[in-house]
Structure formats: structure tokens, C-alpha cells
């Protein structure tokens, strides 16, 4: 489902101007990473997608819905949002109940709810934890519970806020493959992340934000090569991109295979 942001401005009640005219279009089947320094406005932006914040100016459309005319509950049917801190999201006594909560609220029958819970837990690798109390799990596992509860809603738009925080290599790998799977299912996947290597490897498109504005928006290989613009918002190109740029390349390789390609094609005299 398309997400369309037009000249979005937002001023917090404290007077902080967090967004200063953001325009973005994201389509079905796209995976978009939003990067930028702490305080760049990334979370403020995506909170508009689920109606937690209302535009001070401009507008946000989710498909044919103008978010200003829809409730948070209505928007939840179209946009699934995985919070940065899972403890802001989880409240049930068991992992299974937590994940069943959303689908049940959508009015689905019990057998369908059970099927969705099982599938979501399988996807995040917590099938054996269904009866545990979420707060008996590690924080990183709770993050997967929060992710599963959003997957079970099967929304056309999925927003992930710092999905890899604190995850080990296996966890990052699993989240990456979930992103790719959602994308392949035709969903619109939007992630906020400081993990720039993860963004490069898993997201074909990268949006760079700084001080409430979009600084760059385009293919990961182009955007992540713009070291001087990234630095304005406290972001560095991914590790392999920094290496390739130092060696004289003009594009940012997204992974090891691309790195070797770039070095062969673009680095002089190899």
C-alpha cells in the first residue's frame, strides 16, 4: 500500500519543530530505510503513519486514507508499528496472548487467531516461548515478541523502529530475512535504523533525514556514497562503502559481493 507524505511539518507542544516539510512516497513492495542522527525527526515522522501524531501542516496518506480523518485504531489495520523499546508495547501475561491481542481485535475467528499467532512466532523464532511471560524473556527476545505481534496483524504497511538494537548476528540476520519476506509479499516496509551496515545490506532504498528534513532519498548505493551529506546528520557510509570510497570508488557497495565488483570495476588499475 502506498504511503504518501506531503510537505509534513510538526511542532511539538514544547515548541520544538521536529519536522520542517517532509515529502516522501513509498510504494507497495518497497523496503525503505530511514537514517539520520538522534533527533533528526525519524520517529516523529513514522508516528504520523499510525496517527499517534497529527500534522501541524501538510498531510500523510496511507493508501486512500488521510491520517487526519482516521483514528489510531483504524490506522492500525493498515500500518503495523514495532516500537523502538518493546517495553512500550507489551502488556499481556503470556507471549501467546500478546500476539493474539491484535488479530482478535480485528474480529478474526479463534482458529484464524491461533494460526496467525503460531505463524508469527515461527517467523521470529520464538515458537517454543508461547506460554512464557514476556518480561521473563531477554529484552532482545521481547523485541521479537513485539515484532511478531505486528506480523500477526498482517498489515499492508510495516514500520520497524530500530529493529536491530542490541541484537546479535543471528538476530540481525533473522530480522533482515523478515524484511525481505515482507517486501516479497508486496508490503511496504519502512525501518528507522542507526545500523547503517544493516540498512545497506537489506534496504534497496535509503532516506537520509537531518533536522526535520529529507537530505537524501534514493538507491542505497547512491545515497550511502554521499559521505559529506551523511556527516551533516551524524551518519557515516557503511564499512565496506567507506573502504570502497577510500579506494577511489564512486558507488557505495551494499555487501561483500558488490564490494568486490565495485573494486574491480571502479578502482583504477585493479
Amino acid at each position: 500500500m502506498d504511503v504518501r507524505v506531503r510537505d509534513l511539518g510538526y511542532v511539538y507542544p514544547t515548541g520544538v519543530e521536529a519536522l520542517r516539510g517532509v515529502t516522501l512516497d513509498m510504494a507497495s513492495g518497497e523496503a525503505v530505510a530511514i537514517v539520520g542522527q538522534n533527533g533528526a525527526g525519524k520517529t516523529t515522522l513514522v508516528k504520523h503513519f499510525i496517527g499517534l501524531l497529527r500534522p501541524t501542516r501538510g498531510d500523510v496518506r496511507i493508501g486512500d486514507w488521510d491520517t487526519r480523518t482516521k483514528s489510531v485504531a483504524q490506522l492500525a489495520a493498515r500500518v503495523g508499528y514495532v516500537f523502538q523499546n518493546p517495553d512500550d508495547q507489551l502488556f499481556s501475561r503470556t507471549v501467546g496472548q500478546e500476539i493474539a491481542f491484535g488479530p482478535r481485535n480485528l474480529g478474526l475467528g479463534e482458529s484464524e487467531v491461533r494460526a496467525r499467532v503460531a505463524a508469527a512466532l515461527e517467523t521470529v523464532g520464538l515458537a517454543d516461548q508461547v506460554d512464557r511471560h514476556p518480561y521473563d524473556l531477554m529484552q532482545t527476545q521481547r523485541k521479537f515478541v513485539a515484532l511478531a505481534s505486528v506480523l500477526a496483524l498482517d498489515t499492508p504497511v510495516v514500520v520497524l523502529d530500530e529493529p536491530t538494537t542490541g541484537q546479535d548476528a543471528a538476530g540481525v540476520e533473522r530480522i533482515g530475512s523478515i524484511v525481505e519476506r515482507l517486501q516479497a509479499q508486496g508490503k511496504t516496509v519502512i525501518a528507522i535504523s542507526h545500523d547503517i551496515d544493516f540498512c545497506a545490506e537489506r534496504f534497496p532504498r535509503v532516506v537520509v533525514m537531518g533536522q526535520g528534513r529529507v537530505l537524501l532519498d534514493g538507491a542505497a548505493g547512491d545515497v550511502l556514497a554521499r559521505a559529506e551529506v551523511l556527516a551533516q546528520t551524524y551518519v557515516e557510509p557503511p564499512q565496506l562503502a567507506r573502504l570502497a570510497l577510500r579506494l577511489g570508488a564512486r558507488r557505495a557497495p551494499r555487501n561483500v559481493v558488490e564490494f568486490l565488483q565495485v573494486v574491480r570495476e571502479e578502482v583504477p588499475f585493479t
Partner: protein
Amino acid sequence: MIALDAVTYTYPATAQPALREVSLSIPDGQFCAVIGANGAGKSTLCYALSGFIPHFFRGELSGRIRIDDVDTQAVTLAELVQRVGLVFQNPFNQMSGAKFTVREEVAFGLENLGVARAEMQTRIARTLERVGIADLADRSPFALSGGQQQRVAIASMLAMDPRVLVLDEPTSQLDPIGTREVFETIRALIEERGTTVVLAEHKLEWIAAFADRLVVLAHGRIVMDSSPRQVLTAPELERYHIGVPRYVQAARAAREIGLWPADRDLPVTLDEATEGFSSSSSLSSTRLDLRNSRNSGN
């Protein structure tokens, strides 16, 4: 000096120990990083080093933990905080909850140590400056982003000037340059104050560039303990689900196709990788010098 001697610890109401026979001795002024898959025992080790085990978390502890000559089990947590500071994984847990501004939050620990007011003001100003949040001094600690809270948590510990600083994933919510700054601050602290630092992290690139030593935990045991270079280029690293640094991956793949000299060590930092790829026979070194001066990095 910190010394753990055959430390085994089991949390209350759990069957399996979280640390098993851990022995580790860290000399003054060393920057020791700890990595491991989630659940390997990194946070537990941090709690044990800082006295939260056994003073806050009960459970069952055997073996000895000493900081300098002090057995951490023989003194109170209040005495320990003058020697060792812990920066929590979740900065929210670090906040006193009793203070309305960042400045007061950072003052909290100093008040409890009985530091004089004027000295307190100097230290707070210096620390906030140092971690890059001087402009947040009058904001509420709870109205900050995760990354900003993380900086407040680090500042609160630095202001107390502990001999030993233990940090549990202190940069998990920081932007990339913020992360680099934290590592630089830690390094500077070690040079200036001789602080001993233990840091649990996943960010291998920064560990490789800044740490003196790297300990790998798996299932509560120390399975590797060497220089970051030795550990990060060791073939068995993958066994512990930690991932392999990008530069190591790239050089290994490049070696297969002759783009990385077969007799050269694998690189763990950007500088080493740049050098190695430049030296690979066909690259022009003059041209690279030019590039280097334009794209300077760590």
C-alpha cells in the same frame, strides 16, 4: 585491577548458571571489550564486575570478585560505587526518576558521594560537554530520545570519575558518529585518568579500532581471550554467533580471487583494509594517497 576467580553465578529461580567458572584479570588502564551472542552472559558479567551481583541480584554466587584489594562480596554497594561505575544497557533503568533536569540527574551520584557544590558544578559542566549534551542540561531526562538518554547515563557515570568503568552496550541507540564519539571518549579517559574499562558490545568495527583486549563469552564461559585482531580474524569466531567483521569478510573473499595478498594478515580496521587493498599488486599507490587525504576516516 579487577580479578574474577572461578566465578559461577546462577540467577534466582533459574536452573542453569549464567556464568560458569569465569576467571579474568584486567590490569589498570586496560580497555577490555566483551562480545558474545545474546544470552551468552555479557550483562551478567557486567553486573558481577560492578557489584550488582551479589548485592542487588541475589541468586547463587561462587568464586571471588576483587577490585584492587577489595572483595566485592565483603563490602556494600555504596562503598563499591566509589570504585566502579556501571552504565546500563537500557538507559531508562539508569535514571534516578527523582530529578527534573539532566544537570540534576548527573548531580545525583555526586550528591550521594558528598562532593562539594562548586566541585560538583565543574564536574557536571565538564562531563556534559564531554559527551556532547551541554545543550540538554535543563531538559527533563525523560523527555529525551533513547540516544540522548544513553549519553546522560554515560555522563552520570563519568562525572563520578570511577577507577573502573563498566558499560553494557552503551551505544545501542546512538547514531553512527555518536557511537564513534563514545569510543573516542572512553579511549581519552583511559589516557588521561588511567581508568580501567570493560565494555560489552556488538559493534565489532569499533572494538577492533579502540579496545586493547577482546573476551568472547559463550554459554556463560570465556571461550576466547586475546587481542581484538587475534579474536576477530580467528576462523572459530563464527561458531559463537557473533558475526565476522565486514573487513575480514571482504578480505577473505578478495583473497579467493587474488585481490588480497595471500601472505598478508586479514584486516580488522578501515586503515588496515585500505592499506591491504592498496598494496594488492595492481593498485597505484600515488593515486590512493590522494584519495586518502580527501576521504579521511578513522
